[in-house]
Every structure is written in C-alpha cells, then in structure tokens.
C-alpha cells in the first residue's frame, strides 16, 4: 500500500466519519447509511493485505464514541464484518452492481442486528436499533460509492 493509497483511505474514513456525524432530522436518522462500514468494505476489498482484522479496533472504538454505544460494540461487529468480507471479497469484486448491492444490504443488516444482540447480551437496557433503514440506504448508496472509489483509484493509478 503506497502513500497515495494511504491518503485516499484516510480521506475516505474522514469523510465517512463526517457523514456519520452529519446532523439529521429524526426521521432520516433511521435511514442514515452505514458510511464507515462501507468504507471498511472498500478497504478490505481493495487492500486485503493491509486492511485486516486489526482495523476493527480503532475504527470500532471511534464508532462507539460517535454513536455513544458501549465501548466494544462496534469492535465486535466490525470484526465479524471484516471476517465475512474476507470470505466474500474475491467473489464480490466479480459481482455486478446489483449483486453487490444485495450483499451490502445483507452485511449492513447483519451488522445492525449484531449491534442489537451484543447490546442486549451485555446490558439490560438496550434501546431499539434501526435494522432495515440503514441496510436499505446503504445498499442504494453503495453503487455510487463503489463507482466513485473505482474512478478515483484509476485516476491515481492505484489499480
């Protein structure tokens, strides 16, 4: 992973966290795409050698602070997410947009479900977690994110 790729990854994560924090009306809050999860997906897809399980720790911690969940919640979900991606990513690169969209939909839904399960397992007081909203919007946004990343990577001669 060269320096340009590193900067791109850092920029991507920065934008993802920025979008996570974007103030949203209450209704749209349930539809907020899982931006960080998508960037993690891209990282694992395009740099499987560098972006391994370890990135679950810093990014998970940051997501926990961002969403004020129990510390560790997103470390857990991201670790499982990355593991699933490591199983899937070779196929995923070959998939067309529609198939990719379906996979992202399922992955985000699984992540939200894991957030809920982990929270319910550890603490008695677990509020509701939006499940289908983020999955749906993430799936809808995914082709554009993927396409944009691909274009930028081609421009930067990273592929």
């Amino acid at each position: 992973m060269n320096i340009r790729a590193l900067i791109l990854a850092a920029a991507g994560l920065f934008i993802a966290f920025m979008l996570e924090h974007l103030p949203m009306p209450d209704l749209l809050l349930w539809l907020q795409p899982a931006w960080v999860l998508m960037v993690v997906t891209l990282l694992v897809m395009f740099a499987p050698q560098t972006a391994g399980l370890w990135i679950a720790f810093p990014l998970g911690l940051m997501l926990d602070v961002e969403q004020s969940t129990l510390l560790g919640t997103h470390i857990l979900t991201l670790a499982i997410h990355i593991f699933l991606l490591q199983v899937l990513y070779r196929r995923m690169v070959m998939f067309n947009f529609l198939q990719q969209t379906g996979v992202v939909f399922l992955l985000v839904a699984v992540q939200q479900l894991l957030v809920y399960w982990a929270g319910a397992l550890v603490s008695e007081t677990m509020g509701p977690v939006p499940l289908w909203g983020p999955a749906l919007t993430s799936a809808l946004v995914w082709p554009w994110v993927y396409g944009l990343t691909h274009i930028i990577m081609v421009r930067l001669h990273l592929t």
């Binding site: 920025m18 924090h21 103030p23 510390l71 560790g72």
Partner: protein, 280 residues
C-alpha cells in the same frame, strides 16, 4: 486468509464483549472514550461546516433595514417581557401571601372571608383602608379584620361591594388586649403611626416586659379573643407618673398586607349598619 482467522475473530468478539461488559459496569473506560473523542473531533467539526456556512450566509445577507426592524421589534418585546416579569414578582408575592393566609385561616376556627385591599385612605391623620367586600358579601360594621400575621382592624363602614376598615394604629382606635405570657390586661391605643401602638393605664408595677406578645382579650365584645395584636417594643417607668409608658409594634403588617381575612366570629359583636351611628 491466514489459517487461524476464525479463532482470531472469535477472540476479538470475546474481547469486545468483555470490553462492553466492563463499560456498562465500571467507569474506568471513560478516559478512553474521552481521548477517542479528540480523534473524532476534526470529522465532527467538518460535518458542522455546512450548517455554519448557512448561518453565516443568512446573517450576512440580512439588510440594514431588516436589522433595524428586528432591533425595534426585539426592543418592544423586551419591554413587554420586562413588564410581565414585574407582574410575575407581584404574583409571586401574592401567592406567598395567600398561602400564609391559608395557613392562618387554618389556625383560626372562625369562618373567614378573604378580601383584598383596594385603596388606602390618603388622609395622614387616619389609618383606614378600603377592601373589596361589602354588605352583599355579609360584611358587617364592627367586623374584625385580620391579615396573615395578626389583627389588623375593624370594619367601620359597609357599602354593598366595598367596606372601610379602621386599622388598629389609627389614633381613634383602641383594642382591649392581654399579655399572652401572663394574662395582664391593657388597652392598646393607636398612635397614628403604623408601626406603633400605645398601652394606656398600665400600672408601673405591671408585669409587662419587652418582647411580650399582646393578644386580643375579647373583653370589648367586638374582637374575638386570642388573636395576636402586637409585640411590646419598649416599657418605660417614669418616676412621678402613675402609669408606665408602654409601646408595642403591631403584629399585622398594616402597611404591606394586600390580602385580608374578614372573621365571622361567634364572639364578635354584630352591630347592624343602621344602628351604628345611633350611639352618637
């Protein structure tokens, strides 16, 4: 994928669960959260930029005319609010006073009627007030009037919807009292000053000391007995004079109370309005 990837994922999951459990039980992890917040801060600040730009734009694009108009409106609004807050203070005081009256009426067994002061007689030589209850409310001449702290005076004139009250501090007013401590009787006469009553015909040897509470004795047949009237503020024995000079401070807040109680007491003598002047 390395050979022990599944085990690693399992390890991370267990670790994360332990971390969550710790975070939900203890507070050690607060610093971690705090420091991570610093890392997140730039992204979060950036997310706020569009909103900030929007605010800045709407602020800077306001015209001078609009600003002036807004300024004027705000000033007017401040005035309205200030007036309201003044009324609020008055309402608060009124509320406290009413509460105190309520507890006072719990202490007395007599039937009472709450009334408000609507005017004060401006004549400096009389101490009279006008209240907003009159003959239609059952007010009668000679009716005792209390405030939250003690006896205030008696009704001397009844109109259908208002009444005139002679306060105990009026120089034409006298009320039979007794010292609450030992029952020594005396007559408290108004001096014309709101904060001073005088006890007349008190022997030099009478057991009255400063601080004694004077209560109405009920002997005159007009006031019910047992209501606080005044507190002795000074006792002076002047050699060569037959009577001690005793002054007392009225318990009732003659110059401040806005809400008063009219007492319909068993002991209070009821003098029909038509007969009150026949004595003269």
């Amino acid at each position: 994928m390395s050979p022990f990837q599944r085990q690693r994922v399992l390890g991370i999951v267990v670790l994360a669960l332990v971390l969550m459990w710790l975070d939900s039980r203890v507070t050690w992890l607060e610093p971690v959260r705090y420091i991570t917040g610093f890392v997140l801060a730039p992204a979060q600040q950036t997310a706020m930029i569009p909103g900030a730009i929007g605010n800045w734009y709407s602020e800077s694009s306001t015209t001078r005319q609009e600003l002036l108009a807004e300024n004027k409106q705000l000033k007017a609004r401040t005035l309205v609010l200030e007036t309201r807050s003044q009324r609020l203070a008055a309402l608060e005081a009124e509320n406290i006073e009413l509460r105190e009256l309520l507890s006072a009426s719990e202490q007395v067994d007599d039937r009472v009627l709450v009334t408000s002061v609507i005017a004060v007689d401006p004549d400096p030589f009389t101490q009279q007030i006008l209240i907003n209850k009159g003959g239609e409310d059952g007010v009668f001449i000679g009716q005792p009037v209390l405030d939250a702290y003690g006896l205030l005076g008696q009704v001397i004139d009844v109109a259908p919807y208002t009444s005139r009250v002679l306060m105990i501090a009026d120089s034409n007013h006298a009320i039979p009292v007794q010292v609450n401590r030992n029952g020594v009787r005396a007559i408290a006469v108004g001096t014309g000053a709101l904060d001073e009553l005088e006890l007349i015909y008190v022997p030099n040897t009478a057991d009255i000391i400063k601080g004694d509470l004077l209560v109405s004795s009920g002997l005159g047949g007009r006031y019910p007995r047992g209501y606080p009237v005044a507190t002795v503020s000074s006792v002076e024995n002047i050699p060569g004079k037959s009577f001690a000079q005793v002054t007392a401070e009225p318990s009732a807040r003659l110059d401040r109370s806005r809400h008063l109680l009219l007492v319909f007491s068993q002991g209070a003598a009821k003098v029909p309005a038509t007969e009150i002047w026949k004595e003269h």
